[in-house]
Structures are given as structure tokens and as C-alpha cells.
């Protein structure tokens, strides 16, 4: 004991004293010592124990930490940052509509504001704790004393800092002595070597120098040309084992990677070709093989070549028109029923009537508008009630084709109207056409009476109108005659007086 004090005294001459620690063997003696130190009026104090001791703050008179206020301020800063950032970004700097919400829409901003609140608050707690504890610190002078190591095991210490206002070496030692401490020691400056060994610095410099090399290699590659292909660090999906369209393969006898359709199969969207195109494909293949093959890739090359020869002799039969040799389907492939025609009427009303008019006379709303605007490039839509569009001259298949692919300025509707519905429209157009050419015997018996009655009414009205007009004309004529007469009389009366 004596020797240790002597050492302390001799050492303390040339070393800075940071404070004094006192060691205790039990929690109870620690608490008692703490109370004594507190009552003596020391404020820059600390207690050390291997485990948490309840009530030590109170015993040592430690004030509640400021950390919660730091955390609160950081949290509020986080909220404000989150909100302002989003308001600035989404509402002011780069207004961008997201699913029709207003630019500054709080509900969308709250999650980010909430997350930033928590992030800032945690940073506040973490770094605030650092700041309050004076961290980062690589060594603490209390650890200069080997005996202090037992604080993590089975000993308790109280420390009084030398910067305390009431600090006085001898009185502190006396106070600790009164608390029954067996070991009182000044905390001296840590004089363990702080110099980094030379070999570590050398190693560090070498590693740093080597680490520049990859960067230089990359930079050089970026500014020079090379006959070698690009060096792939990450393959991603740059190299796929699948073949491209025009590549060769050894897998098949014909060396084609792109396989032709297997004979006898029907590809998607090519089922029932006549139905899809409005053309009698078989007949077309006989007349114009290549065009049929173009339309229908499903046909086998070999078959076509054979037929081509056969057909050449057959095509002596003249086509219906010089202009159009396509063998259009002349009959609607769908079964004509009331339902179908009604479906056609509905679809016609949606897609066709805007130009062609509800009755097909070619005077739809779009046309009327175009006439009103005197649109120069406007081509008036055809009236569907002209001779050239009747079934004899314009086969159903051709009408179907026109709907599908368009004609002149009319666009094709294949992408908008389903195939079935296009045929329904064809059926409805035929019905519309025949409605303008119906004779009385086509009218059903139940309706005949009503129609005849309507007809007599209309006739009567027309007759009455005509009579009324005639009468009005007669009256006007009589009035004019009378006025003439009066004028003449007046003129006659004036003359003598003059």
C-alpha cells in the first residue's frame, strides 16, 4: 500500500492527473459512497459497476439526460425534412401527376415523413449519445490502472473529475477514505505508446498504391480502341442460347432455325380462313396461288405448286369483273337470325353510323360536321343504298373485307370489331338495303294493316298539305291582283288634281 502511494506521488509530478477513483467491494458500500460524494457537493462524478444498479443516478445526484430533447428535435427535423422535400420535389420543382392526385397530397407524403422522423430520431439518439459521452474516444485514462479492469467483473468504483469546482486532491482522498474504500488511486494520463508502427504504414501505402491499378486499367480501356470484343464482367442475359430468326442450325435437316408451320396445323388467329378473310381461299388458291399463300401461310408449298399447274388450265372461265378477280364469299358464313341482325344493328350503331348514318344513307354526324366545316379533304362516305353495293354487285365477303381492312379513306376496323360481329354487321347492312326496296308482299300480315293505315294517313296529310299550299297560293295571287287594282285606281285619282 505504501509503495503504491509512493509511486503515485513520484509519477504524478510529471503526469497530468485527471481525477481520483475509489474502489468498493459491494453495491451497498458503493451506494453509500455515492450519497456521501453527492452530499459533499461534487458534481463532475461518475460511478462504475459491472451491472445496472437501480437508483444510482439519484444516489450520485446525476441530472436526467438531455438526450430525449435531442431526439425530439431531430425527430421533428426529420418530419419537416420529409414533408418539405416532397412538397418541393413533387409539388413545386417537378410537378408530376401520380394517379390523378393533387401535386401536394399529404396522405402520400406521410409514410416518407414518418420514416425520416424515425431515421433522424435514431441518428439523434445514436450520435447525441456519442456527443454527450465525448465519443469517439480510443482510450480513457481510468483504464491506465490495471486494478480498474475488475469493474467489468466484481468491483465497484466511484470517480471524481479533477475539473470539478470543489476538487482538491487531499480532501477528495480524505472523503474517499471516510467511505471505507480500500483502494484510492489518482487517474493518470495514459502514456501507452500512441505511435503507429512503421511496418503498418508501409503496408498501408503499398495496398493503397496497388488498389489504384484496376482503376487505371479501366480508365485506359475506356479511351483506347481494341480489336477484341467487349469484356463482359457481368453476363446478365447478353448471351442467350436461343437462335435468332435467320440463323442456321444443325438440328434440322433444312438447317433453318425458324421453323415453318407444320402441315395440317392452324396457327392462332387463322382458324376458319374463309370466315376470317371473307375470301373463298380454296378458290383463290386455284386462281392466284401466291396471293393465297401470302394470305394463308398454312398452305404447304408442295401442294400449292401442284395445284398451280392444275389450275392454269382451269382458269379459262372469265372472272366476274375485270377489276376484281378475288373469289369473295357470296354468302354470309354465319347463320342469319334475328339475334344476329340485332347484334349487327348494335355494332353498326356504334362503329358505322357516325359516318354512314343510322339508316346507311351516308349522312352520319361526322359527315354533317365535315360539310358544315367545308372540310377540303373530306370524302363523303358512301350511301349503302346504291346499286353497286347490293349483294349482286358487292359480295358479302367483299363487304366484310371492307369493314376489316377499310377502303379509300375509311380505316379498317379489324382491330376493334370482332370477326363474328363484322359478319353480323354485313348481315345488318343487307337488311338495311332490303328495307329500302321492300314491296308490300314482304311485309308480314300482322303489320300490313297498320302500314296501310299509316300509308293512307300519310297520303291524306300530303294531299291536305298540297291543297293548303294551293289555296294559299291562290289567295296570295288574288291579293296581289287586288292591290294592283287599288294602285291603279289611286293613280287614276291623283292625275286629274295634278
Amino acid at each position: 500500500m505504501k509503495t503504491s502511494t509512493e509511486i503515485t506521488m513520484s509519477e504524478s509530478k510529471d503526469k497530468k492527473i485527471h481525477g481520483i477513483v475509489a474502489e468498493y467491494a459491494t453495491v451497498d458500500s458503493l451506494m453509500a459512497a455515492c450519497r456521501k460524494v453527492r452530499d459533499a457537493g461534487y458534481t463532475k462524478t461518475d460511478a462504475f459497476a459491472p451491472f445496472a444498479v437501480h437508483g444510482i443516478d439519484k444516489a450520485l445526484g446525476i441530472k436526467p439526460t438531455k438526450l430525449p430533447w435531442i431526439v425530439l428535435c431531430c425527430g421533428l427535423t426529420g418530419t419537416a425534412t420529409g414533408l418539405l422535400m416532397q412538397i418541393w420535389m413533387n409539388g413545386i420543382d417537378y410537378p408530376y401527376i401520380i394517379s390523378g392526385k393533387p401535386f401536394i397530397s399529404l396522405p402520400a407524403f406521410i409514410p416518407v415523413a414518418f420514416e425520416l422522423t424515425i431515421l433522424f430520431a435514431s441518428f439523434g439518439a445514436f450520435f447525441g449519445m456519442w456527443a454527450l459521452n465525448g465519443l469517439p474516444k480510443f482510450s480513457n485514462p481510468v483504464f491506465t490502472d490495471p486494478r480498474f479492469d475488475r469493474v467489468t467483473d466484481d468491483r465497484f468504483f466511484v470517480y471524481i473529475d479533477s475539473t470539478d469546482e470543489k476538487y482538491n486532491q487531499s480532501s477528495v482522498e480524505k472523503l474517499f477514505g471516510e467511505t471505507g474504500s480500500e483502494y484510492i488511486q489518482s487517474v493518470l494520463e495514459d502514456d501507452s505508446p500512441k505511435k503507429v508502427p512503421k511496418f503498418m504504414i508501409t503496408t498501408w501505402i503499398v495496398v493503397m498504391a496497388l488498389s489504384v491499378i484496376p482503376l487505371l486499367v479501366v480508365l485506359r480501356m475506356r479511351v483506347t480502341n481494341s480489336p477484341l470484343p467487349r469484356f463482359h464482367v457481368f453476363y446478365d442475359m447478353d448471351f442467350s442460347p436461343s437462335k435468332d430468326a435467320q440463323q442456321n442450325t444443325t438440328l434440322f435437316a433444312d438447317a433453318r432455325a425458324m421453323r415453318p408451320n407444320v402441315p395440317g396445323t392452324v396457327a392462332r388467329g387463322q382458324m376458319d380462313l374463309n370466315f376470317q378473310t371473307g375470301i373463298d381461299i380454296d378458290a383463290l388458291a386455284k386462281i392466284d396461288g401466291p396471293r393465297a399463300a401470302m394470305l394463308v401461310r398454312a398452305l404447304d408449298d408442295a401442294d400449292l405448286a401442284e395445284e398451280d399447274e392444275a389450275v392454269n388450265e382451269e382458269t379459262a372461265k372469265p372472272a366476274a369483273s375485270v377489276m376484281d378477280t378475288t373469289p369473295w364469299l357470296s354468302e354470309n358464313p354465319r347463320e342469319i337470325s334475328l339475334e344476329l341482325v340485332e347484334k349487327g344493328q348494335q355494332q353498326f350503331g356504334i362503329y358505322c353510323s357516325v359516318c354512314h348514318g343510322m339508316n346507311g344513307s351516308g349522312n352520319g354526324l361526322v359527315n354533317r360536321r365535315a360539310q358544315k366545316l367545308l372540310s377540303a379533304t373530306w370524302i363523303p362516305p358512301s350511301s349503302l343504298h346504291q346499286q353497286s353495293l347490293y349483294a349482286e354487285n358487292y359480295p358479302d365477303g367483299k363487304l366484310f373485307n371492307t369493314i376489316s381492312n377499310g377502303i379509300r379513306k375509311m380505316p379498317g376496323y379489324a382491330s376493334q370489331i370482332k370477326v363474328e360481329d363484322r359478319w353480323a354487321i354485313v348481315a345488318y347492312v343487307r337488311a338495311l338495303q332490303s328495307s329500302q326496296n321492300a314491296s308490300m308482299d314482304q311485309v308480314p300480315a300482322s303489320e300490313k294493316k297498320r302500314i296501310e293505315k299509316l300509308k293512307t294517313q300519310v297520303d291524306k296529310k300530303l294531299k291536305e298539305q298540297a291543297e293548303a299550299e294551293k289555296k294559299a297560293a291562290d289567295e296570295a295571287a288574288a291579293k296581289a291582283k287586288e292591290a294592283e287594282k287599288e294602285d291603279a285606281e289611286a293613280a287614276a285619282a291623283k292625275t286629274p288634281s295634278a
Partner: protein
Amino acid sequence: MSHARPVVKPADDPAFKLPASLSAMTLPLLGGGLLLLIAGWAIGNFMGNARVAMSAYLAAFIYCLTLATGSLFFVLIQHLVRAGWSTVIRRIAELVMMMLFPLAILFLPILMTLFMGEGTLFRWDDPNYASANHLPMDAWTEKSRWLNQSWFTIRAVIYFAVWLGLALYFFRGSTQQDETGERAMTDRLQYWSGPATMAFCGVTSFAAFDWVMSLSPMWFSTMFGVYLFAGSVLATHSMLAVAAYKLQKSGAMRDEVTTEHYHDLGKLIFGFLLFWMYISYSQYMLIWYGNIPEETEWIYHRQLGGWGMWTVLLIFFHWLLPFLGLMSMYVRRRPKMVVFWAAYVLLVHFADITWIIMPEASEASALPYAVNWIGILSAFMCMVGMMSLLTGLVLKVAGDTRVIAARDPRLAESMAFENV
């Protein structure tokens, strides 16, 4: 440790008995509560209409139910996590969860509306509901498989069976331990708390769907059960703080419940305020983002005719104000302040329940979904009445048992508990 172990009083100490002043309140509470409940219903029925009255009754019922199921949850969770701090106040929760028995009887009027009137309370009960609201029949047929009188009744029986079974098992276990002091009982309750919590969660969530969410039959939110649960646990912790304070003021368990326990309750109230906000905001934000008519309907109705202001005020008064109020440790370590905020939370929890239920009742008034003050007054009177009635019954039960788990092996640990 420096502290001497606290002295645990013998189980027959008078401090563990319900104070006489509280016992004397049993009959006045029962009588007054019943009268107030009937008066509240009558005001709704005769100054408003049958739906307003029954909705007010339902609001009061759900308010009491959230406290009772919240208490059951509290008991289960304390056993589940082997909590040491809560032993001194656990008995209060155990007593309150016994309110589920009278609540099962108080549920009967709600069930009766299904069989006696068409659409009196639940609109899906009205056979013309689908056609009057132009709902697609196929969707409605599917919906009716779940929402129909008989299946609804069966489910209600299942819910109450599970709750009552759990409540009775845990109450009996705890009170038996008062007599025997067996450690094995604690182990047994702990063992069953896991499965019990799982059963509780399912049942409580589905009860929320059935009894509250189905007021607006075509609306759905999978979050809704959790939303009600968040308010329920929040209110339960507040109720525990208020009840413990009242018991201490009346002379029971003076040394057992300390500042430390109020501090803990304060922390939990603080935490669950944020949880309530988190859940209600999550529900709102998903609906707001999705912006699908069938989901926004419910929120939209709560933005019409004065309910919009109520919604905004809920954010401030149900979350922000008490959240800031309980933020400081200084407040949480002062029992009076904790009890003040706890009582406050109990009141705003009622505002929350009203906001959930009452807009659906005001369809019959001139402006649909307007704030109907008759309905709110009626609901408030029903709530106070039903709470008094149930408190009276709880005091009756508490008079026959103890207000603290006197021989729980963790009682000493709980008394010695320290936060700081």
C-alpha cells in the same frame, strides 16, 4: 441490490379486499346504469328512429366490448410474455374481462334486430337492400352466404363461447391461486396463453368484421379488425390506470401499485396511441391510394355533413394531443397526470367508436351521413349507462374475490419492479 425485498402481505390482508366505499356503489351503479341505458335508447328511438337508437346501443356495446376483450388480451399477453411488472394490476384486468358474461346477454337486443325488423340495424338484413342500392345480384348472392341471420347468429355464439371460455379459465386459475398459492397454476396458465392468444385474435377480428364492418355491407377492409383492436388495447391500458388509481384512493393495495406501474401504463398508452394512429392511417392510405369506389365509400361517408371535421379532430385529439402529452417521462412518472390522460383517452375512444358506427345510422335523416346529435347523445347515454351497469357487476364479483392476485409467485417481483 441495495433494496430490501418488499414485504408481501398475507393473502387475507384487508388491503387486498374491495374497499367498502366501492362495494357500496354496486347497487346504485346497477340501478342508475340500467335507467340511463334505457333512457339513452328511448331518446334515440323516439326523437330519432329505431336505427339511430339501435346504432347508439351498438356503439355503447362495442365500447364496453373493446374494454372487456382488451382486458382479456392484456391477461393473455402478460402470461404469454411471463411479465413480472404487471402482476399487481393483472387482477383488475381479470375482473374486467368477466364483463364478457353480461355482455353476452346485452348482445341479445342486437341479435333481435335481425329477427324482428328488416334492416333495423344491419342494412344487409333488409331483403330489398340489394335492389335499392343497385348492387349486382351475383356479388350480393356471394355476400349473403356470409351475411345472413342464421350464420351470423351461429358465429356470434362461437365468438362468445371462445371469449367466455378463455375468460373463465384464466379468471378461475388466478382466483384459485389466491387460495392455494400453487406455482403450477401459473405454469398452466402460461402454457395455455399461446393457443389462447391465437384463438382470441381470430375471434376478435371476425367479431369486428361481423358486428361493426357489416354495418356498411359492401365495404371491406382486412385491416378493420386490427383497427378496432388497436383502440381496444389502448382503452384497456387507460382503464387499468384509472381503475388502479381509484382503488388506491379508496384504500386498497396502497404499497403494491407504485409510480413504476403508472410509468409503465403511461408508456403503453403512449405506444398504443401511436399504434392506433399507425393502423388507422395504414387503412386510410391504402384506400386513398387504391381509390376504388367500393373501398372509398366508407371514408367518403365520413367526410360528409360534419363527419369530415370529426375525422380531422380525431387525428388531433385521439393521437397528437395525448401523444405529446405523454411523451415526457416527467408526466409518465406522475400518477395523477397519467390518470388524467388515461381518462381523456377513454373519452376519445368513445369518439372513435361513435365515428365508426354512428354515420351508418344517419341515413334516415334529411342529409345522409350528417352528424346526428340526437344519435350521439343517445349513444353517449347508452355508453355511460352500460358502463355503469357492467362496473356494478364487476364490483359485485370483486367483492367476492380480491382486487389483487394475492399469492401469485411474481407478486414480490412486481412490487419491487423499477423502471429507471
